[in-house]
Symmetry: C2
Subunit: 457 residues, 2 copies
């Protein structure tokens, strides 16, 4: 029975890292093993993430492969890549033997193609090898890419007592038993049972009499995001995966879903801030530039567009220089409103809580823009008039432009994500720099247009 | 045994909603019950969210309280509030009797204080009532606010056979058994067992000989966010909750954590876009204004600040009008870089992957800003010179200002969240409008300052 450690109080301190570094330097294997034995593998991974590669490799070679395989899964992706490069195909195969099929496939998928083959052929357990190969064939963003082959399966013709006996055998290799899946002779999924149901049932009852026939499932080719939504909506802790013939292929557990959710949330968050691809603060400057520069260039072209508009109205500029002072205000407000509106729509789309009624949504944003616009314009009216002493007409121009720009920005921010979503594009790209930039240009253009109408230059 | 429905193919269509509406209008209870029986409670909740209150109440009164209590939990918060208003205290108490203690306490906590007392006194099951009252006393953002009282508990002195017998009794009222918790005579948590362990063990073994003594746990007063981090890091599906004396009080399950994670991610996403509090696109205009206007006002004051700066440099404006054209470019770039830098730091802080090394992070952002700045400045140099025909010195001014502003924005965007975090403020407020606004002002100020240095006005 694997012992799990109590780790609530684990603190990654500089002192601890130094202690490990010193023990590695002294090659004091005994003390090192004694120290690390105290920690959960997730904590050891945190320690290794802070060591240099040489020290980390020393620790990995020191520990047994049951522990190191779990540690490998928890390492930072960049660090795992480096560690794997320093292990032979045979050593990686040994780690992989200790892992569940889904984790094993994930690790192997991270290797260069030619090494993948080498590692797979070094896996001794033939069944494990075949299952990992099967999983590697699925796209990582599908149910097949998330599922594990480990599950507890019983036939509908068995009795409860027979079942419990067989489960004792199968359960040894399944880390957590959420549900027992019931299949017919053709291996087709027909129902499920919880361990609780089995314990509560009488020994001589037939599985066919007690199983729950309406079982949720996903198809192996279903989208990972779809699986997340289903498991979340129906509060499932595991879901069986079937092929088109309804044959039971594997199962997906909630901990995999939690990881997918976390990754998705992080990606959306960064995307909204104008950062594509899954970078982290400790990635290289080159990686970070690749993720950030494209969005800055979009913003740059927006700025150039705004410059052209101002250039086009240069006569007016000389007549009403006061108007120029308020360009940053118009631009900032348009940007902020646009980002707010688009973020709330993107959120609604992600939750499936926005239906087809585009028109009523736009109407609401119009009303909201009007309320916010009037509030802000009123304050700006007072400030511009009393502090900057703009003329009566100039003040009116600024206020009308502000209200119009806020409404326009709200409508654009609402419309673009809904439009992209209808076209099958991920609406999440439509917040942040994308919206800000288009609103910058529109905002400044509207500003000058209204100035022209009111001041008549 | 509760039957769960197969719902993967559920689609909320207008036709389905109309069908329900028609059956309600005709008061065709038999057909309505037959239709709804097909659906999972989460799906029925989706249907009810689309009906008007009167129709929704009709359906709720029609269904049995076992189903409606689950439906209630899944309804949109606003709709649930309305439905609860239309139920008597006794009716709510009946729904609450069907729910697990954590859900029951959540529902009651949403009621006005005076109704809470009324509902609680209408709960017939004395133990359930006492447990709900206990849970209501905890802050909703703590482990106590998340936990349920339902759990399966055994004493370390029992045998496996005795245990299985007792578990059959306790398990009837626990929806899902993740772990069996082992306590000593003083009800103190001493270990855990999985059902799998029990099934695999021999009947005459003592619990004391097979339980796992190192069990993860949280204190009832621990922060909900802390609980999420622990369960995620250690891949736990349930965690026991203890008081300061280590007495076992309840347990938190992964599905509650999934909900907390989702809420947190949504809040952070909206906060980064300048929307405080948990609003949704279908909230009232007043609710939305309250969540959005404050951030727009921050942006407005930033715009006014920028206007003051431009006003202060008004002599220069008249001498070098070309500089004014590029204000939007400077501002947009400063804003975009600032948001990117802050988002990546906020993400790193949330993941605990940023350590104390502020200086090395700032140095990296400096380098990154330099790379991005030179790339963008080079393009702008060509465009400004050849398209806008700015003078040699003006072009140089714009480019030097761009590079400086990008570096400054990156540093400010990095520094502010780290600083706020050190001061114990949630760093997530520091992206979006807050960073954009401060970078607007700094950016424009730096721009004019550099212009003054180079052009010497």
């Amino acid at each position: 029975m694997a012992e799990e450690k109590e780790n609530i109080q684990f603190q990654l301190t500089h002192a601890l890292i130094e202690q490990v570094e010193n023990l590695v330097e002294q090659q004091n294997n005994k003390e090192l093993q004694k120290l690390l034995k105290e920690f959960h593998y997730a904590d050891i991974a945190e320690i290794l993430d802070e060591l240099n590669l040489e020290d980390a490799m020393y620790v990995i070679k020191l520990l047994d492969s049951e522990t190191t395989s779990d540690i490998l899964m928890e390492l930072d992706e960049d660090n795992r890549e480096k560690v794997l490069k320093n292990l032979s195909a045979k050593e990686i195969a040994e780690e992989v033997e200790e892992l569940d099929t889904d984790d094993a496939a994930d690790i192997i998928a991270e290797l260069p193609i030619e090494r993948q083959q080498e590692v797979i052929s070094n896996i001794e357990d033939i069944e494990h090898r075949a299952e990992i190969k099967e999983l590697l064939a699925y796209d990582e963003d599908t149910a097949g890419g998330l599922m594990a082959k480990e599950l507890v399966k019983v036939y509908d013709t068995w009795t409860v007592a027979g079942c419990l006996r067989r489960i004792r055998g199968q359960a040894e290799e399944v880390t957590r038993v959420h549900s027992v899946y019931v299949v017919d002779k053709q291996e087709k999924l027909v129902g499920r049972l919880s361990l609780k149901d089995l314990i509560v049932a009488k020994n001589d009852q037939k599985i066919a009499d007690i199983y729950i026939s309406n079982v949720d499932f996903v198809n192996v080719h279903d989208d990972a995001e779809e699986v997340v939504k289903i498991m979340q909506k129906y509060d499932l802790e595991a879901i069986p995966v079937v092929d088109d013939n309804h044959t039971l292929l594997g199962r997906i557990t909630i901990d995999d879903i939690v990881d997918v959710m976390k990754e998705e949330a992080e990606e959306d968050y960064l995307l909204a801030a104008g950062i594509t691809s899954d970078v982290e603060h400790d990635d290289s400057i080159w990686e970070l530039t690749k993720a950030r520069l494209p969005w800055l260039l979009i913003g740059m072209f927006g700025g150039i567009g705004a410059a052209s508009i101002i250039n086009g109205f240069s006569d007016a500029m000389l007549k009403y220089p006061a108007l120029l002072m308020f360009i940053p205000l118009i631009q900032a407000t348009a940007g902020n409103v646009g980002v707010q509106s688009s973020a709330i729509v993107v959120q609604g789309l992600a939750n499936n809580s926005i239906d087809g009624k585009i028109f009523s949504r736009l109407l609401k944003e119009f009303a909201l823009g009007l309320v916010n616009g009037i509030a802000i314009a009123a304050i700006v009216l007072l400030i511009s008039h009393f502090i900057f002493q703009t003329s009566y007409l100039e003040s009116i121009t600024i206020c009308v432009a502000l209200i119009t720009v806020i409404i326009m920005a709200a409508l654009i921010g609402t419309f673009i994500p809904i439009f992209l979503d209808k076209k099958g594009v991920d609406a999440a790209v439509a917040t942040g720099p994308f919206i800000t930039t288009s609103n910058d240009i529109f905002g400044i253009f509207i500003y000058f247009l209204i100035a022209k109408l009111i001041l008549g230059f």
